[in-house]
Symmetry: C2
């Protein structure tokens, strides 16, 4: 029988793969200025520190690290995460409420695996991170987008949706959101924790950018207001240590976490021990805080430079003014099309991600996302000039 006759599972109907990961492939041209990624700067990756940590760990406990580990995670890391979560995210949790995962993308996957049957409803911010929309769609959930404004997702609409639609889950990025860069305000954080318990909706709180704050006051996590256990917190070290190591964690109610752990047995048995131990050592040796401080200093300059140039950029109607994170979200004048203009921009040597991909229902073709972390001040200068040219010529 011809292999072309092979039928794939229904969960792939309408799934074509991450648009961003496809755009990345266009960017392998020398000299291309990319505002498209969400990657840390090369200078933010602590390669020499990690080289020494890895060697030292392998020489001192290599036999343990190279052996099979527990699905529940590397015990020293779970232990380190308890005070880390308290200090950085303002919530208490026990070690058996923490599961190290293979990047926080896996946390999203495991929550869906534990909770979502085909047809279940999942509420997402409009717009939101497209990678996790794909993860949710692969579980054949129905996505229900709820709009956000300068203060994050609109909680009045959210309550109305909770009441009317009985969703299973809310997926939310409260701090320096992807793609908008916006931060959910304090009042709404409290309200979401309360609505989750009131309506019995699991909140998947995704907070990878929190440490990248360049202005304003830090806010407690939604999970810190969770008294009943409905908030599942997904954390990541990708933006502050290394995405290539693939280490994140899920902190959740023990019964929910147990289902995720069983799910993880069949996903990858456990997250690589060496990678968990590297992150653990990085935390224990107190390397994270000074590293984050250094990163923030340069990212802040990059963001401010980009914002300043955006204020003078032709064709741009409005844009967000984040206090941190990696992204600025902008809107071209009505009738302009950021999808169509991407090709022209790439021809000139600069790239961004069209905003339409971040909307569950598509549309919003005049929006786009800019990243500043991967570019030097000089590249931002040059890249914004090129964008200004393209947009001005096509306004």
């Amino acid at each position: 029988m011809d292999i072309q006759s092979l039928q794939f599972a229904k969960r792939f109907d309408g799934i074509s793969g991450s648009a961003i990961r496809e755009i990345f492939k266009l960017l392998a041209v020398p000299g291309m200025i990319s505002f498209a990624g969400g990657n840390p700067a090369a200078s933010a990756l602590p390669d020499t520190q990690v080289a020494e940590i890895a060697r030292e760990l392998l020489l001192s406990k290599g036999k343990t690290l190279l052996q099979y580990g527990a699905t529940e995670g590397y015990a020293p890391l779970r232990e380190s995460l308890v005070p880390y979560l308290k200090d950085r995210f303002s919530f208490d949790c026990r070690e058996d409420e923490i599961l190290p995962v293979t990047g926080s993308t896996q946390a999203m996957d495991l929550l869906c695996k534990a909770l979502i049957d085909p047809g279940d409803k999942v509420v997402v911010e409009n717009p939101t991170f497209l990678g996790n929309m794909q993860a949710i769609r692969l579980y054949q959930a129905q996505l229900i987008p709820v709009d956000s404004d300068e203060d994050g997702i609109k909680v009045d609409e959210l309550e109305e949706v909770f009441r009317r639609e009985h969703p299973k889950m809310l997926y939310v990025i409260p701090t320096f959101q992807n793609p908008t860069g916006r931060t959910l305000n304090l009042e709404r954080r409290k309200k979401i924790a309360q609505l989750a318990a009131q309506y019995g909706v699991v909140v998947a709180e995704d907070d990878p950018y929190r440490d990248l704050r360049y202005a304003g006051q830090e806010l407690p996590s939604i999970k810190s207001f969770d008294t009943e256990g409905w908030v599942a917190f997904m954390g990541s070290f990708s933006k502050v240590i290394s995405p290539g190591l693939r280490v994140g964690f899920l902190a959740a109610n023990a019964a929910l976490l147990r289902k995720c752990t069983i799910g993880k047995q069949s996903s990858d048995v456990h997250t690589a021990n060496l990678n968990q131990a590297i992150v653990d050592a990085y935390l224990r040796q107190g390397l994270l805080a000074p590293h984050v401080e250094a990163i923030c200093q340069s990212y802040a300059e990059q963001m401010n430079k980009m914002l300043a140039l955006l204020s003078k950029c032709g064709g741009v109607a409005r844009y967000t003014r984040p206090q941190g994170g990696l992204f600025i979200f902008a809107e071209l004048k009505e009738g302009m099309n950021a999808v169509a203009l991407l090709n022209k921009a790439v021809e000139r040597g600069v790239a961004y991600v069209p905003g339409t991909y971040f909307y569950a229902g598509g549309g919003h073709e005049n929006t786009f996302r800019l990243n500043f972390s991967m570019s030097t001040i000089e590249q931002i200068d040059r890249g914004m000039q090129l964008l200004n040219d393209v947009f001005t010529e096509n306004a």
Copy 2:
């Protein structure tokens, strides 16, 4: 709303987690002799080599390795795998037919994600590896067990099942099978490749133990007889380099692999770059062959010692005589119960895995699986003596 009211997804109905992983937790008693695991010996884990490789890689290309990587895998590793697959598994494949994964468990998960809708039928050997049965069950497939004999799965029965049941997939471990230690003979390998194409069934060929051969002739993979692309080959470095690094690979038809790659975007984005690069360096530096040779020498002694003692062990009716791998499968006399006797054995200080867990339909309570790789000759001596005592007293 009380979190106790949370409803989990239907895929977890009847799933209680890996029985083996639960047994492992009983074994954390000092002095326990465990024939229960499937782990490499500590001496088989190349910790000092990996320490130097990791440091060298991080110092020379740390900025690349700590950054995000492609879902498609670390390019040098894919390149190294082409000749490795040709040399070790006797098949040709292109780089775009190879996907590095986070342990071969992920290969199984991604194949199911790509192919299985609830109710689809998957044929498995009876008995087979329980971890992957759980992975398949989480996709709500119907497992159809087909018996095996000394030469592996019975292909006449298999053809009958293919004809009658129209299964979507066959899951098979052809070499030194888990749990039986048996090897599928050459004729049946050819036949399975032919049946797969004839009936349009994807074969998930799982071959992690192949390099651990202590006697007899090496056989080509099922995939080497696959002319149409119906065989998906799952490989692992867990048994020959390190399970803790979580690096395996999937080699399959490009269209099927593309679906698996999209599925992987939402599973963990990519396998950790450092881990892929360590395996790549291990292959490129020619370290694998001498390492495997050293491992095999001591595993062979351990297996032969265990087989010799098993021939004199009370209560044992029969057992397999593998030519390699990590496991021996044995049967107690009719009416004896290896599940009930496990507690008594653990009280005496020795453990095994009851065979019933490896049967899709349960039953076979008089069977059990023994592992020899984790135990010294002295531990095998002592442990088999303890087992002899328990079985003799309860025969």
